[in-house]
């Protein structure tokens, strides 16, 4: 069990997630962007995950964003897998199943909302905008057994397969 109890479900198995204490993801949000804009060094020393995302060190994030940014919907957890892969959890959940199951899930969302819906899929977002809450939402749905897939959005940083 990881120290903060983080986990997710895959293939019917509960998979623990170990926090990668040294990194967080700065997802584009008003608060984070505003904070980052005042500290150019944050982006300069970070690792760009996309045009709108930069992975930075915890120390740099703390320095730049402080408590205000940490409490804003702009900082998301990063975990480290057994093989060293870094996994950032974004505030989005994908649910797959039949129409009846999806409707059942939609009606019991709680603090989350639907951002996309098809016959086979629901895409949900926690109202808080936090990655941790997406993980918890996906787990709650998975544990009810009503969906084929309930998965928070992961971004993984792998070693390039170039020996």
């Amino acid at each position: 069990m990881s120290p903060d109890g983080a986990y997710y479900w895959a293939g019917g198995r509960r998979i623990p997630l170990e926090p990668a204490g040294d990194v967080v993801v700065d997802l584009e949000s008003d608060a984070a962007v505003k904070a980052a804009s005042t500290t150019p060094s944050l982006r300069a020393e970070g690792k760009a995950l996309s045009t709108s995302m930069v992975m930075v060190s915890r120390a740099a994030a703390d320095r730049a964003l402080g408590e205000a940014a940490a409490s804003a919907a702009g900082v998301h957890p990063v975990y480290r897998a057994e093989d060293g892969t870094l996994i950032a959890v974004l505030p989005e959940v994908r649910v797959e199943g039949d129409a009846r199951s999806l409707e059942q899930i939609r009606q019991s969302l709680g603090a989350a909302h639907v951002t996309e819906r098809t016959d086979e899929r629901l895409v949900l977002a926690p109202d808080s905008g936090r990655g941790e809450d997406a993980l918890a939402l996906a787990n709650r749905i998975a544990e009810t057994g009503t969906a084929d897939v309930a998965q928070a959005r992961f971004i993984r940083v792998l070693a390039r397969p170039e020996p």
Binding site: A10, Q151, R153, F154, R156, P161
Partner: protein, 488 residues
């Protein structure tokens, strides 16, 4: 105009055929006494272009050694890539020369001693005003030998040897397709030549490469591309960023249509899906949701028959697992798309998604038909093919010749590379073999294609025939798989 320059070596007459010309001016001293680099005025002839390019690329430290080349015109020997170029100069080397012979050489040909080496070697120079110094020198050397009073005499050649290093020794040695045993074991390959007697691939059969992008404008790949999409940045094409060359190399192993660098299934179509990008260092960034969408797009919109995945690592997630399952069950109108996945290069357990059941998971073998390990004969001690549950087949994965992105940001400065490695390179061989099987038997289900491939492998390793955690069912044999498919 070809001319032959004859000389003796080892008591036998040797001939060098010289074609092409280049002019040179010797290095000279400026008025201040500074040595000026020698200027070359080259006159390209079709036979000598490679030599001329080679000369033009030499650093000044090498060019300065051409001071002994004829001041006006000398001859060069045409070369093929990898050959050594010899350039006759206006000097000859004489071994064991007595004073009387040197006197004779001066009287008959005007040769003068310009350098005395160790063990009785002497370097003699032809007069600068001779009509064709290399020919005069060669004739003098011949006659010195024929007079019988010297141990040896021959033109003093300058040799231009391509510097050994990655990409220079085996630029077109596609041992994975056809291994002649140099190096390795003859026949330790996927039997491409035999497979091509049946088919080089049906254009209607499409293989998707899910990777960090593919240079779909590459001259060896462009004609094969039937669909492309970027799931990372939303660009209209699957072009890679910066030095992201991995996907282009994978695609070439499948369907390169070059005359010297050929894919295993050069006739099939290519679907390119960009699912990853470099993090600027030695990492790759994947968004699991986007990757799942790419998998679905490949079998659905891209109509891919085979999905080639030279990537993996990290824990499993259901969104990708479910997308692969849909590809296998819904692709190809319900017959299923064949999902091919790399085992990984850590010499540890097979990595996800290679661990998924009912996919074709591929490990890497070398030129000796060994599982690639940190101690296998190929000498690449820094990586080994993953093993264990989920491993299905092995395929060539060391020093693979394939396509490369253009320019210096690729694996090599050229449009091809001779050194693509890993289970990343083994995987597209298996994907191409699946495409060849489907080219002759498009009615087969994906499970039947996998069964045909694993049941026709060549046994490798020291264990008993059958599945082993180290080499799966054995090394891929595309010809045997196609033949079995036709008879099925």
């Amino acid at each position: 105009m070809a001319q032959q320059l004859e000389y003796y070596s080892g008591n036998r007459k040797q001939r060098v055929t010289v074609q092409g010309l280049f002019s040179s001016r010797q290095s000279s001293r400026s008025r201040t006494g500074e040595v000026q680099p020698m200027a070359f005025r080259v006159r390209p002839q079709s036979e000598g272009r490679q030599v001329l390019r080679l000369l033009a690329a030499q650093p000044s430290s090498v060019l300065s050694r051409f001071a002994v080349v004829s001041e006006t015109t000398t001859m060069i020997q045409p070369v093929q890539p990898g050959d050594t170029t010899v350039i006759p100069t206006d000097t000859i080397a004489v071994l064991g020369a007595k004073t009387a012979e040197l006197t004779w050489a001066r009287r008959e040909y005007g040769l003068t001693v310009v350098q005395e080496g160790s063990n009785g070697k002497v370097l003699l120079a032809v007069p600068g005003d001779a009509d064709s110094p290399p020919l005069v020198g060669a004739e003098a050397a011949r006659r010195l030998v024929e007079r019988g009073s010297v141990e040896g005499a021959h033109p003093n050649f300058l040799r231009l040897v391509q510097r050994p290093g990655p990409g220079t020794t085996a630029e077109t040695d596609q041992w994975g397709l056809d291994n002649d045993g140099t190096p390795g074991v003859a026949g330790a390959d996927v039997a491409a030549e035999a497979a091509w007697t049946i088919s080089t691939g049906d254009p209607a059969v499409k293989v998707a490469v899910l990777d960090e992008g593919v240079d779909t404008t590459h001259r060896y790949l462009q004609a094969a591309v039937s669909a492309e999409r970027d799931f990372v940045d939303g660009n209209p094409t699957a072009q890679p960023d910066g030095d992201d060359a991995h996907g282009t190399a994978c695609a070439g192993i499948i369907c390169s249509r070059g005359s010297t660098v050929r894919g295993l299934a050069p006739g099939v179509g290519l679907v390119a899906a960009r699912i990853a990008k470099s993090d600027g260092g030695d990492g790759w960034i994947f968004d699991d949701f986007n990757t799942a969408d790419a998998i679905d797009w490949c079998w659905r919109e891209g109509a891919a028959d085979v999905l080639s995945n030279s990537w993996g690592g990290g824990p499993p997630v259901d969104v990708m697992t479910a997308a692969f399952r849909r590809a296998r069950t819904r692709g190809r109108g319900g017959k299923g798309a064949v999902v091919v996945i790399a085992a990984g290069n850590q010499q540890g357990p097979v990595s996800y998604p290679g661990t998924l059941p009912e996919t074709l998971t591929v490990g890497a073998s070398n030129q000796w038909d060994q599982r690639k390990t940190t101690s296998s004969k190929d000498g690449e001690s820094w990586w080994g093919s993953n093993v264990g549950e989920g491993l299905d087949v092995m395929a060539p994965g060391v020093s693979i010749v394939t396509t490369d992105i253009s320019g210096r940001r690729g694996y090599s400065p050229r449009q091809t590379t001779p050194s693509f490695n890993g289970t990343s390179s083994a995987t597209p061989f298996a994907a191409a073999a699946a495409a060849l099987v489907l080219s002759v038997r498009p009615d087969l289900t994906e499970a039947e294609v996998r069964e045909v491939i694993v049941s026709t492998t060549d046994h490798i390793g020291t264990g008993k025939p059958g599945w082993s955690k180290f080499v799966g069912h054995g090394r891929l044999n595309a010809f045997a798989a196609m033949r079995a498919a036709r008879r099925r």
